[in-house]
Symmetry: C2
DNA sequence: GTCTATACCCTGATAGAC
DNA sequence: GTCTATCAGGGTATAGAC
């Protein structure tokens, strides 16, 4: 199970490879953490679980990270970089119109896909957010931070005379809450993703009493 | 800070009052737990925190509860009893029509109010759900359980020929996710509750592109 | 930089007197 | 039934050899 550690021997290590080895260990810890976070969850994972899965010693961990939270931040940073690179491939209209179904669906799909493809990391982030001291307001702050772009789109809509259901910040947070918790809780079944994305899009676009709601047609 | 414990003396206790004292200790533990859960959160609260807040000894805890989770279940039971009693005062139409704004708003308002009035308990329940092993699927199951009534209402709508945005179970879970996480994360400011309830109602009723959306009127 | 070994603290849970 | 005292286990973080 545990990967073989090439440094665990008492052999002399050429100086030039030492920092490469360090980077390798750091990467091994990150990869192992991603795996065990996915299996047992972030909160239930101990530092010794991570080092064991990476085939490194306990003490080695602290050479790279001060604690579990810092390692999580590094994983989140990696994920955001990957997501940004992925997004750069897509064309984005400069002025979003979230009342256009295709554009709204794109946003829902991107959020959903990122959550699912990086489930161990987003799940860990979610657990960390919920476990924070309630008095700290971190959950609310995180929710606002992660929906700030959405909020800007809603602000934009409102400036153009659109009548929204409520304050853009609140609506953005509500949508983020729906996607965030549903994405965390729903079982991972990629075959269902399209159906879920379509359903959420329609719910957010027209609600329960939308234009489709009245008819008896199937 | 800690309440005075009348049994902490070595005085003889009349037999008839012993079970009353036990009930009192149990109640003191529940009340103290509710308070510390609200302050530090469920996950960060240790059993010794509860007993200290209740002015009882550590060992006394185990006479009443096997562990922290069982105590939480007791608190949830109390809350549900209170909520049921509260709901019994209101008239409920036998056949709900969630596409009627007043009825939808009632449901949103009830869910929101219960969450907020029992914040320490619902917050603890939420933390407990999120901290569970991801592989257990408990988060998803809890979400389904807590939205089963809503789902029935949506089933009812569909049977009457209403076209919903998606599978009733999924839509109910999505709405529950929105309310649940938002209710957990949003700062407690009762003055804002009505505004939030109205906004969420409108979002769920007509979405972002609802009938109000197009006009430039304020 | 990594390892082994360990000190330390915290927490859950129990034993036995009253 | 409650208390005091304590034990056992687990987890973080460090020390020092290599």
């Amino acid at each position: 199970m545990a990967a073989v550690n090439p440094i665990a021997r008492n052999l002399p290590v050429p100086r030039t490879t030492r920092q490469a080895q360090a980077a390798e260990t750091r990467a091994a810890l990150l990869t192992a953490a991603r795996r065990v976070f996915g299996e047992r969850g972030y909160l239930n994972t101990k530092i010794t679980d991570i080092t064991a899965a990476a085939g490194r010693s306990t003490g080695s961990f602290y050479e790279h990270f001060a604690d579990k939270g810092q390692l999580l931040r590094a994983l989140v940073g990696e994920m955001e970089a990957a997501a940004d690179a992925h997004l750069a491939q897509h064309d984005h209209p400069a002025d979003h119109d979230l009342t256009d179904r295709a554009q709204l669906r794109d946003h829902v799909a991107i959020a959903w896909t990122v959550m699912r493809e990086h489930r161990p990391v987003t799940g860990a982030q979610f657990q960390s957010m919920i476990a924070a001291d309630p008095g700290s307001g971190r959950a609310w702050q995180d929710l606002l931070d992660q929906t700030s772009t959405l909020r800007e789109h809603l602000d934009h809509l409102r400036e153009q005379g659109h009548r929204l259901p409520g304050d853009p910040q609140l609506i953005a947070a509500a949508i983020g809450a729906m996607l965030g918790l549903l994405g965390y809780a729903a079982p991972a079944q990629p075959a269902d993703d399209d159906r879920i994305i379509d359903s959420l899009t329609d719910l957010l676009l027209h609600g329960l009493a939308g234009p489709l709601a009245g008819g008896a047609a199937g």
